[in-house]
Symmetry: C2
Subunit: 227 residues, 2 copies
DNA sequence: CGTGAGGTTGATCGCTTTCAACGGAGGTGG
DNA sequence: CCACCTCCGTTGAAAGCGATCAACCTCACG
């Protein structure tokens, strides 16, 4: 059974069209690994993650998969689409999403400047994340990738409560591997290595405790004096 | 000496704020390898490439570099920035850019809906390109990366004149390597391999002729029956 | 003609992948 | 209740692809 991940941030104020009129944004439940939409599907809606974690990915003919991004509660999925979706999207664990009619949203964006502005803001934030991800995919070693990934998750879960960095990994090793552009075996080996080094602890396979944040940051940036 | 690349597409209608009032967008000339701005610089302007090719990149502490994207005439640089630039930008070859005050543009976006809409359109197109690029970086082999890259350039230079795919490579092997997440040696070896296979011809190091487009497409998608 | 930057090619190394076996957790059915 | 099965994760051994190190080439330019 997949654990429902702790909500990372409240989405209360993030998406301004929540309250717009009585346009009842329809909510949808997905089980772990269930698809929300596939590459090529007609793209009539955008989606806001309400609970759980989703992932956007692209696949090659032979099945190789690259996860573009994980979407946490409050995140918006589907921007950047034309009439058809340019990537696939599925639930990493049990999740809930709210669907938003695209046409209506774009109409709002034309009429209400702040909605358009907010959309642009979201799109550019996504661009920034993807730039970081490209640097990771193209130029970092396996250990650097993994350390960067853990830091990202730790950062996302800030404010989860205690200041000590503890968080769940809602995604499988396969998901992590497909996000970082490596294999599950390499993910597993390097997690073990981090554990042996005392940088992290893994009480369960889905639970991470960061013991030495400084060292993890060094490892993420390639200060290879670390090991 | 770097050859000035043939303009890929006219920018006449692409960017709507050309003509907005007498706000004289300042034009700027850059020599090959000259920086337009660096990561961390204050971001007061966006830039439209007028001529030549620019590249956006990020670097790690130890100098490893990942080129995020190449910007051709008509392309807009600098979206997705907050107060400071999140990446560096420099000229691949001699180039001309037009700087656009960011504050004014955003003001326009608030006032004129079509400007905001166009900006969002540009941002989402960029997102789509980056998704493709991530798939390439994370999951493709060296040969697949290179074949995909050549196809992209061929596609960009469509309408350059003849329908035969011939185009210049304004960027050095180092630039190509840093865009594809590999080394210059591997780029060079695989270009040679493509030449030997009769898929492409390289009359000069900066000039590419695609001889067998079908095979190149197979190679780009990993139909590895090809070699 | 000398020089230096960019490009190619060869030889070797090593990190990551691949192939394979094993272990644990959860679910199901006898 | 336990045997069994499947999925997921870990670990080991071997292979391979791309990186690294190094030499050489080409060409533009002073």
């Amino acid at each position: 059974m997949y654990m429902s991940p702790t909500p990372i941030e409240t989405s209360a104020t993030l998406v301004p069209w929540h309250n717009t009129a009585g346009r009842s944004a329809h909510e949808q439940r997905l089980h772990a690994h269930e698809a929300l939409f596939c590459e090529g599907d007609e793209a009539g809606f955008l989606y806001e993650v309400v609970d759980g974690v989703m992932c956007n990915y692209r696949i090659l003919l032979d099945g190789r998969r690259q996860i573009i991004s994980f979407a946490y509660p409050g995140d918006l999925i589907g921007l950047g689409h034309t009439e058809s979706h340019r990537f696939s999207c599925e639930a990493v664990c049990d999740a809930r999403v709210r669907s938003i009619p695209k046409a209506a949203l774009l109409r709002d964006a034309q009429g209400q400047a702040h909605v358009g502005h907010r959309l642009l803001e979201i799109a550019t934030a996504e661009l920034a994340d993807m730039q970081e991800h490209q640097l990771l995919l193209g130029r970092k070693s396996a250990m650097e990738k993994l350390a960067s990934f853990l830091l990202m998750l730790a950062c996302r879960s800030k404010g989860e409560g205690a200041k000590t960095a503890r968080f769940n990994l809602p995604m499988t090793r396969t998901d992590i591997a497909d996000y970082l552009g490596m294999t599950i075996e390499t993910v597993s080996r390097n997690l073990t290595k981090l554990k042996v080094l005392g940088v992290i602890d893994l009480p369960q396979t889905t639970r991470v405790i960061i013991c030495d944040m400084d060292k993890l940051e060094e490892l993420a940036e390639g200060d290879d004096a670390a090991f």
